[in-house]
């Protein structure tokens, strides 16, 4: 086995020696430029075998109007001999300058985008236009896109250099939908929000479902759609135990049958009683403008929290209600 490899090696040698007549003629001088033990031993005049000299960097030969995307067509490490810019990088010593680009590890470590100059990107886009289809003419604004295609699905593909093309992060699927585009009534919406919990964002009214429990992207995508379907249908159903919803479960403050209503009713009744106005109706009381205003201010205070606006509204409504003004 070893002999076979060795003979293979040796038979490669004659290939290098057979020079065709019209190949570059090699004078003995250039041969001896390549260090070999024979010449070093033979001639004692030399101090050491000649070292191979490096060529000048090819930046010297580059013209100013060359085609740069041809020099860096793909993502490649920074080559100081190929980039004609006098770049410096590195922490300088005291009273010094940052290190030059030759042999500079800092420049090699960082990712460079020399292959994506604006000119290159423009050329790439031109070439890729063939692969694109036209945008549908009817979808010329964001709102129309929202209207026709309310669901957005995000997937990510990963590309890297290595022996394997698989990446476990590629199976993640994110599905986003605005609840306003779903057909939900009040109860269904509240139930849905309770069901999904953290996945609903109140400020943007967006439900985000992120799935990665299945090994494949397609499976995760199907699962996300399934989840959406199930949520929708479930939120429309009403179970018996939902009647037991207490005030602590309520998401927002509801005036009717609340303690605040009772309190104000009692207060008003007491006021009326003090004024000797006995035959007065609860509903009539509640229907008066001041009570309405009071109701609005309490609701807004409870729902939106304390701020200048709500507090001043409350103050005004209480004053009006208690005839303090």
């Amino acid at each position: 086995m070893a002999a076979a490899a060795l003979s293979a090696w040796l038979t490669l040698q004659p290939g290098t020696r057979t020079l065709r007549a019209f190949c570059t003629s090699v004078s003995p001088a250039t041969r001896s430029a390549i260090p070999s033990p024979r010449t070093a031993a033979r001639t004692s005049r030399y101090e050491r075998p000649l070292r191979r000299k490096a060529l000048p960097p090819r930046t010297e030969k580059m013209t100013v109007d060359q085609d740069w995307p041809s020099v860096y067509p793909v993502a490649a490490p920074f080559k100081p001999s190929a980039v004609p810019l006098p770049i410096r990088m590195g922490y300088p010593v005291k009273r010094g300058v940052p290190m030059a680009k030759e042999g500079n590890l800092e420049l090699l470590k960082i990712p460079n985008f020399l292959h994506l100059t604006p000119v290159a990107i423009k050329k790439h886009c031109e070439a890729l236009k063939d692969f694109c289809t036209e945008w549908p003419a009817a979808l010329d604004s964001d709102e129309k896109c929202e209207k026709h295609f309310p669901i957005e699905v995000d997937t990510t593909d990963y590309v890297s250099a290595g022996p394997s093309i698989r990446n476990p992060k590629a199976r993640v699927v994110t599905l986003r939908v605005k609840l306003s585009s779903l057909n939900l009534d009040d109860h269904a919406k509240k139930k849905l929000i309770k069901l999904v919990g953290e996945r609903y964002c109140k400020t943007t009214d967006v439900l985000t479902i992120k799935t990665d429990r299945c090994p494949l992207k397609r499976q995760n995508y199907d699962y996300a759609l399934y989840l959406l379907t199930v949520l929708y249908h479930e939120s429309w159903k009403t179970e018996e135990w939902e009647k037991d919803k207490t005030e602590a479960d309520m998401e927002e403050y509801v005036w009717n049958n609340s303690s605040s209503e009772k309190n104000i009713l009692e207060t008003l009744l007491q006021i009326k009683a003090a004024e000797k106005n006995l035959d007065v109706n609860k509903e009539e009381l509640l229907a008066t403008k001041e009570v309405e205003e009071y109701k609005k201010s309490v609701v807004s205070l409870k729902n939106e929290g304390d701020n200048e606006n709500t507090l001043s509204q409350y103050k005004e409504s209480v004053k009006k209600l208690l005839n303090l003004m």
Binding site: M1, A4, A5, A8, T11, L12, G15, T16, T18, L19, F22, C23, T24, S25, A29, T30, T43, R45, L50, A54, L55, R58, K61, M62, Q66, P69, S70, V71, P73, K79, S81, P111, A127, L128, D130, F131, T133, E134, P136, A137, A138, K147, H148, I151, E152, V153, T156, D157, Y158, V159, S160, I165, N167, V177, S181, L182, N183, L225, T229, Y232
Partner: protein, 685 residues
């Protein structure tokens, strides 16, 4: 590189939203419309949107393409970088090869590294079982070269044949016969195939590498001389020994079908047992079997290679074979015609008519000729490169036919076309034709047909020499920057051609740049190139800045001579170079160094030219130093140059010299004039 994330947004209608009325979702299906990247956009017609009334959202059909289409599209936006070495080399100033020898050895080193790695993996397969590649890459896994089946059976024989173990399979076959089992016809045929392909020898690991080398050498040998080619056959190539295993097994086979005969014939022809091949063919005919087209190709080659026959007889034999082929209803293929043409081209003058007939026949049958066909035609018609006979114009017809066509490899000799075409262009001194050939090379994928290193070098050398000869200097210089050294390393002769072109166009200021470039790719020690450069620089007077540049260049060349001195026992400084360097120093005002050069003359025993001495005299006059002038005269006297007298006269006339100096001069001149008068008197007598 770091992982790059590509986000793909997919928006489409949710099937759940039932109550959105009025809109029809367009077809968002994945109907594959197989559109490969062929350059032409073939998007199928989608139903146009209804502009009137309700707006319909029409989603166009998704385009599909093959796996590399996007890469190919992006690749079409970049061109070759003219300052870079070929991509196979490391792009570092220290590691770029500087000559064809170096580039070949670098590539061989890379390949031998791969071979060594493969060898290690295959000899210790148990350490390389872990496979992290996804999807699986079979060629990176260890290969098994040892036959697994140990018992004596036909399956074992088939396995050994598959693993290409010649000796083992022959042994297995013999064992099977001894054991009495009959071997099936198919297996015997495949065993015969193995034996005939490798000529009854074990295939070595670089079998294919050697084969291609040998076939090229055979080609060139055959071109030169028929008898030499016989010697070449004996030196290279694997000869068919009579009574070898293939014949033995063939004789042992109880039944032979046409496949067996055909394999034997093809093996015999491949290993140059031509007479036996033809005999076996007659046997095949006697058994009323039919041969296939590959066998006929081999037989045609056998007929043409058989020696000691006149071309007419050989041609008649070939026609006989073709008639038999037609009688057996075997359709000829491209190889048939190429083999015929390959044989015809050895017939030189006689072969022209039959070659054209063959070509027309090929067209008539409908077989598309390949590049090898045209190569043979060119070789046939342009064999003798002498101008006395009128050159044929067939190259123009060929190029007209080929322009703009893209080829795919169909014949092993396809890569010889461009070399021979450029040779003809160079011979005919036709630049337009050369541009046509080069344009064909750059069409589509035809660059793959340029062939191995030496052929590429030959092609580009000839092309560039033609450009230097015939094209305007600006265009030539553009080509120079484009081609050298990223495409090929020029020889000294090519650079000398370029220098002469510069001379003709009066652009000598480019010479220092060319010298600097040529040092980079190994011409530092090529004396003829240096002499030419120095001669061109020193020939005429030039404006001062140019002189300075020239003088710097000359100093550089001088240093190369000196370093060459240090490394060789016998220094060789050509006289012309010394002259030129000294002149250039003088003209640029570097008189110190110029005077040092004079000393070198003595050291290397070379004689300074008359013009040089006159220039020295002028410079001495310009600097008004009589000592220098006298030095010159002394030097001239030392060499016993006839010009010594003239110089002495000039010194005496133009310089203010003292009496002793005048006497010294007189001595010098008297010496020379004495010898003159002696010769005069001898002539008188």
């Amino acid at each position: 590189m770091a992982a790059v994330a590509a986000r793909r947004w997919l928006r489409f209608r949710c099937k759940v939203c039932l109550t959105l009325t009025g809109q029809r979702a367009g077809p968002c299906g994945q109907v594959p419309n197989c559109r490969f990247y062929s350059g032409s956009a073939t998007v199928p017609k989608v139903e146009g949107p209804n502009v009137t009334g309700i707006e319909e959202v029409v989603i166009p059909k998704k385009k599909t393409w093959d796996k590399v289409a996007v890469l190919q599209a992006l690749a079409s936006t970049v061109n070759r970088d003219t300052t870079a070495a070929p991509y196979a080399f490391q792009d570092d100033p220290y590691l770029i090869p500087t000559s064809s020898l170096e580039s070949r050895s670098f590539l061989l080193a890379k390949k031998s590294g791969e071979n060594a790695a493969k060898y290690i993996i295959n000899s210790h397969p148990k350490y390389f079982q872990k496979d992290i590649a996804e999807p699986h890459i079979p060629c990176l896994m260890p290969e098994y070269f040892e036959p697994q089946i140990e018992d004596v059976s036909e399956a074992a024989l088939r396995e050994r044949i598959k693993l290409k173990k010649v000796k083992a399979s022959v042994d297995m076959f013999d064992q099977l016969l001894q054991a009495g089992t009959t071997v099936s016809l198919e297996t015997s045929n495949s065993l015969l195939d193995l034996l005939c392909y490798y000529g009854d020898k074990e295939p070595s690991t670089d079998y294919h590498f050697q084969q291609s080398e040998k076939s090229e050498e055979l080609e060139e040998a055959a071109e030169e001389n028929n008898e030499k080619s016989k010697k070449a056959n004996h030196q290279f190539g694997n000869l068919w020994r009579p009574k070898n295993n293939a014949e033995r097994i063939f004789a042992l086979m109880p039944e032979k079908n046409s496949h067996s005969y055909c394999t034997m014939i093809r093996g015999m022809v491949k290993h140059r047992a031509l007479v036996q091949a033809l005999n076996l063919y007659t046997e095949l005919l006697n058994n009323r079997l039919h041969a296939d087209v590959y066998t006929f190709n081999a037989l045609i080659e056998a007929t043409a290679l058989s020696a000691r026959e006149k071309p007419e007889d050989k041609w008649n034999n070939i026609l006989e074979l073709l008639k038999q082929m037609a009688a057996q209803k075997v359709k000829p293929n491209l190889q048939t015609f190429n083999t015929i043409l390959k044989c015809l081209r050895r017939f030189h003058a006689f072969g022209k008519m039959p070659a054209l007939q063959t070509f027309r026949e090929m067209k008539a049958i409908g077989i598309e000729p390949s590049l090898a066909t045209y190569h043979y035609l060119i070789q046939l018609f342009y064999y003798h490169e002498n101008h006395s006979k009128g050159s044929s114009l067939i190259i123009y017809d060929i190029m007209n036919e080929l322009t703009g066509r893209k080829f795919s490899p169909r014949d092993p000799d396809d890569d010889m076309f461009f070399q021979s075409a450029m040779r003809v262009c160079s011979f005919l001194r036709d630049l337009e034709l050369a541009y046509q050939v080069h344009g064909l090379l750059n069409t589509g994928d035809n660059w793959k047909f340029i062939g191995p290193d030496h052929r590429r070098n030959f092609y580009y050398s000839k092309f560039f020499s033609l450009l230097c000869l015939m094209e305007q200097i600006d265009v030539t210089l553009k080509w120079y920057k484009d081609l050298i050294p990223s495409v090929f390393f020029p020889r000294s002769q090519t650079l000398i051609d370029l220098l002469q072109a510069l001379d003709v166009a009066n652009r000598l200021e480019v010479i220092p740049q060319i010298w600097k470039d040529s040092k980079e790719y190994g011409h530092t020690f090529h004396n003829d190139l240096k002499e030419e450069i120095l001669m061109l620089m020193a020939r005429d007077q030039h404006p001062p800045e140019l002189q300075v540049a020239f003088a710097d260049c000359a100093a550089d060349i001088k240093s190369t001579y000196e370093s060459q001195d240090g490394r060789q026992a016998a220094p060789e400084w050509p006289a012309n170079s010394l002259n030129s360097i000294a002149v250039l120093f003088l003209r640029a005002g570097r008189t110190q160094e110029a005077w040092k050069m004079l000393g070198l003359f003595k050291k290397h025993n070379k004689i300074p030219g008359n013009k040089l001495l006159n220039e020295f005299m002028d410079s001495a006059k310009a600097s008004s130093s009589p000592a220098q002038a006298i030095e010159i005269v002394k030097l001239a006297g030392a060499f016993s140059l006839p010009i010594c007298e003239d110089l002495a006269r000039r010194v005496m006339a133009n310089f203010a010299i003292s009496q002793e100096q005048k006497e010294a001069l007189g001595n010098l001149t008297s010496l020379t004039s004495d010898s003159d008068s002696d010769s005069d008197t001898s002539e008188d007598k």
